[in-house]
């Protein structure tokens, strides 16, 4: 059974996406209680980015919508990331 429609996913498809997001959130919270050692930071970052992309792609329909909408949003995001990474580097945040 297909979970995609002209406008995005079906209601069942959205519920499946929400379950995936809930599982990732549970894994994120587990890092607070379980010692992940050197994988702590990378795993949290990967899970955060995964959740971000899933919400933006499926709930906000960027995956199904015009590329111009994606450009509008990601242009702002990339500009913000570049600007603030540079600012943080200037304040020696990463050293």
């Amino acid at each position: 059974m297909s979970t995609a429609t002209e406008h995005g996913l079906t209601d069942g498809g959205y519920i499946k996406v929400a379950i995936i997001l809930a599982i990732i959130t549970a894994l994120e919270v587990s890092t607070y209680y379980v010692d992940f050692g050197p994988f702590f930071m990378p795993s949290l970052m990967i899970m955060m980015v995964a959740k971000f992309i899933i919400v933006v792609s499926y709930f906000m329909h960027l995956k199904f919508d015009s590329k111009l909408f994606s450009f509008m949003f990601y242009a702002g995001l990339v500009l913000a990331l570049g600007c603030y990474f540079a600012a943080l580097a200037t304040f020696q945040f990463f050293s």
């Binding site: 406008h7 919270v29 971000f52 015009s66 949003f73």
Partner: protein, 204 residues
């Protein structure tokens, strides 16, 4: 030619306008606004990251954060994104009853999140973390406070949209109106996904 006429008639039926891009100007404007919001929250998050260790004589972040409580709040906000997308889906099916129901549930979940944030701020204040206690406290309250204001504005938008639909006063495409409010709501959720990880889960 005939196809164009059919499309225009279809758009007119939805109350949409023909644009030079073929896309909705309202939706384009919302995406542009959300892109600019990335810069606002980027600045607030960066400031917090810089100052989170500057606690002066006040409490340290790890001493006051209540991770189980914030995890539940995060889950509530995440689920509100699901109910929001279900509202958009119902609006696209032109099912006003379900649209109104899911908009109300989303607003209630959003209000629960804001209530949780007010409780959290009150608890932190009682533990000695005022707005001017330290650079950490100022940047923390500014970042999470700004996010809370965004959620509150989102709740108001949801309730107003629901009221307009109930009174049958939507002038344009109803599904698009709900979708645009939904975009704002999901963005607020996306910002919290980042705040939850960078502010709460990564120790200072």
């Amino acid at each position: 030619m005939a196809d164009t006429a059919v499309h225009e008639a279809h758009d007119a039926g939805h109350g949409a306008h023909v644009t030079s891009t073929g896309l909705s100007n309202n939706k384009l404007a919302m995406w542009l606004f959300l892109g600019s919001e990335c810069l606002l929250f980027g600045g607030l998050i960066s400031t917090y990251m810089l100052y989170r260790g500057r606690v002066a004589n006040g409490p340290h972040p790890n001493q006051i954060y209540d991770i189980p409580f914030t995890s539940v709040s995060s889950f509530v906000l995440l689920m509100s994104s699901l109910t929001m997308v279900l509202a958009v889906s119902a609006a696209q099916r032109r099912n006003d009853q379900q649209t109104n129901l899911w908009l109300l549930v989303t607003a209630l979940l959003g209000s629960t999140f804001v209530g949780g944030q007010v409780y959290e701020f009150t608890a932190f204040y009682r533990e000695g973390l005022g707005f001017t206690t330290s650079l950490f406290s100022s940047s923390f309250y500014t970042l999470t406070g700004f996010h809370g204001v965004h959620v509150t504005v989102g709740v108001i938008m949801l309730l107003v949209t629901r009221s307009i639909i109930q009174k049958k006063r939507v002038t344009g495409d109803k599904a698009e109106s709900v979708e645009i409010v939904g975009l704002y709501w999901h963005f607020v959720d996306v910002v919290w996904i980042i705040i939850f990880t960078l502010v709460y889960l990564i120790p200072a």
